[in-house]
């Protein structure tokens, strides 16, 4: 996942590279996603995560395409 200044830059980069245009989140939403995703990563009891749990995390931060495709 790459960092861009703006959604316009994402679109230009996708045209320039031929890479698929997915979904973008502003950094503050990515921070919320990171806290949900990585907050328990070093807990001794961490045992991975089910697909359902992953989809809930994405949904909570508005990353909708993740589970559109996963469904």
């Amino acid at each position: 996942m790459l960092l861009f200044r703006s959604e316009e830059d994402v679109a230009a980069w996708c045209v320039a590279t031929g890479e698929p245009h997915g979904e973008s989140l502003p950094l503050d939403q990515v921070w919320e996603l990171s806290r949900a995703w990585y907050g328990d990563r070093m807990d001794p009891d961490f045992r991975g995560r089910t697909t359902d749990a992953v989809m809930k995390i994405f949904a909570n931060v508005g990353l909708t395409s993740a589970f559109r495709h996963a469904g």
Binding site: M1, L2, L3, F4, R5, S6, E7, D9, V10, A12, W13, A16, E19, P20, H21, G22, E23, S24, L25, P26, L27, D28, V30, W31, L33, S34, R35, W37, Y38, G39, R41, M42, P44, F46, R47, G48, V54, M55, F58, L63, S65, A66, F67, R68, H69, A70
Partner: protein, 152 residues
Amino acid sequence: MTAPSLDDRDWQMRSFIYEFFVEHERPPQYDELARHFGIAAAEARLAYRRLHDHHALFLTPGADRILMANPLSAAPTSYRVHVAGRSLWANCAWDSLGIPAMLHTDARIKATYAYGEGQASYAITSGTLHGDSGVVHFPLPFLQWYDDLVHT
């Protein structure tokens, strides 16, 4: 063939790998893991492969060296995270925020924008993000991530 499932010892090894990675700013070699747990190097090597097969970490293709233990990268990237007196590489823009989230601490981050010139500086202070703005592009649906993890 389905990979053997991970047992509690595997997860303990994974925890050791993460703690070592943060402490030393690099992942342990499998012989270092073997010494810590008092096991044979060959056994530690197999544990690395089991953890890789279950996406608990990712080995360098064709080698038994850790390349990624998300959000940490063993190789230099465009995302440098300064946290708790250490400097760590993040795998991607998302992971640059994943490191302070994982460690529950403040961080300063230097990142290179993927399009155009320039660097971004942002930080986490007491749980709040501030600094340069930006968007993170998620190019692939979640279920395809593990097909080509380096790409994402």
